[in-house]
């Protein structure tokens, strides 16, 4: 077994050991606030994954609450990626724009997105629009600021090469500036993906008629702690899945970056 796969196995062993410890501890304690993992897993299965085959085993609850939450995250992130990516490249490549906008951007970034939820509620009414706006507003900053930095710091030798070969504007953008910005863009996206989950839950807790935050509210007000824990564990799993997805996309897009830095592609 190679060292790398050995480490991978060790990692899973640690996770399994932690779950076992949790199980033993929760059983012994018998507190209704801390149900054992087995009970949580059973509840998760019953709540979301025991549906008919035709629905890919998803229950009505999963379709009604998990899918809308995922949709909002996807929509919010999509808006943030497009808005942050496009304006980031524009600001990063324009000395005048960055000069004017930098103080404003630094101020806006420091603003916690969750504090704007009341504003978004007033603006968009309760519901999906407000939640998507919250996610988009919160996740756009890491993407925007990193993209600005990336676009600003395109290697001057590469820019001079483009000038010396009189590379026209469009290929200069798509074949030089955008690829050169990608490593920083993805650094921002990584932060935004984790943020998106937090913002989704918060926005849905604040007022929603469906979604995982709404479900958590329900579980809490019915004092069903196993349900609450099931939701928490599901959110944690979703967070991990998002990270893996982001890493997969990044891995695909930035093969050259790892290679050029001397790591295997």
């Amino acid at each position: 077994m190679s060292r790398r796969s050995g480490r991978l196995v060790a990692r899973w062993v640690v996770i399994a050991a932690a779950v076992v410890l949790w199980q033993v501890w929760a059983r012994q304690r018998g507190s209704s606030f801390f149900p054992p993992p087995s009970a949580i897993a059973a509840r998760m299965y019953r709540q979301w994954f025991s549906g008919p085959v035709s629905h890919l085993f998803l229950t009505a609850d999963a379709v009604g609450n998990v899918l809308p939450s995922l949709g909002r995250i996807a929509a919010g992130l999509a808006i943030a990626v497009v808005a942050g990516g496009v304006t980031g490249v524009a600001i990063g490549r324009s000395v005048a724009l960055s000069g004017y906008l930098d103080p404003l951007l630094q101020f806006a970034r420091a603003l916690p997105a969750v504090t704007l939820v009341p504003v978004f509620i007033a603006l968009f009414r309760l519901g999906t629009e407000m939640e998507v706006a919250t996610i988009a507003f919160g996740t756009v900053w890491p993407i925007l600021l990193n993209t600005i930095d990336g676009a600003r710091s395109v290697d001057p030798v590469q820019m001079e090469t483009a000038r010396a070969f009189r590379l026209p504007g469009w290929p200069r953008l798509t074949k030089l500036i955008v690829p050169a910005t990608m490593p920083r863009f993805f650094a921002g996206l990584r932060l935004s993906v984790s943020l998106a989950l937090v913002l989704m839950v918060f926005a849905e807790l604040a007022g929603s008629s469906n979604g995982l935050g709404y479900e958590m509210n329900n579980a809490e007000s019915s004092f069903d702690m196993t349900w609450v824990w099931a939701t928490i564990v599901l959110l944690a799993l979703l967070g991990n899945v998002f990270n893996l997805l982001e890493q997969a996309v990044e891995h695909r897009m930035l093969g050259w970056h790892r290679g050029a830095r001397g790591r295997m592609p």
Partner: protein, 292 residues
Amino acid sequence: MTGTAMLEITGLTHAFGPGASHPALDGITLAVGEGGLVSIVGPSGCGKSTLLRCVAGLIRPTGGSVVLRGAPVDGVPDGLAVVFQDYSRSLFPWLSVRDNVALPLRRTQPGRAQRRAIALEALGMVGLTDTAQKYPWQLSGGMQQRVAIARALACEPVLLLMDEPFGSVDAQTREDLEDLILTVRQHRQITILMVTHDIDESVYVGDRVIVLTRGPARVRADLEVDLPAPRDQIASKELPAFVRLRTEVSRLVRGQPGDAGRPGSAGGAGLSAPGADSRDRNRSRAARASQE
């Protein structure tokens, strides 16, 4: 100066910084004939690269003019290609070798298939057909510089500028690349201006060596290289003419007087002075006269 010069640099002056406080070039005058290969040497930091950037239209000089084929250079002119010293930064790591070479053709060749065909042909010329699908960072330094040369050749330039192109490769690779340039020149009608800090290289590759003074740069000497073709890394460098020239260039670069005052020389700074066997004595003498 001469009606046949394809590149005429007249009184070129450039200074950097606020109020042009850091002069880099101080009245460079130089004419290069069609098909010439001119080496430019000088002490490090003397402004060789600045000269090349002015010729390329990448920098607007503070004074003087550059005229390429009768047209004043104002911005990067048509028919010009550049090979930079820092190949690892001038090639784009996210593009394959073939796409790196094909990219500058976007301006002139609308068809992708056409661009790729030209790129492969250029890669063939530098002996890298097999690496077309690889990425630059998968290649050795010498191979990367070959890619940069192929990229320049693919544009079919009339004037090729090279800024210390072989400064960061090992000695063996450097010799191979020097010979590659000589081969390329045999097959294509192309004028080459090569900045180098390697004196042997300047003499071995060039058919003319321009020595610049310590910055701000002026033309200190303009020497004809009269070595028989084809040149050979070992045989050519044994020739008395080569040894004499490299010694002369070396002395000039260090700021010592040239062979002035020695027998057979007429007080000028070059071997193209009377007595030296020069193919283009008149042009060289005129160039020198304009410096003095």
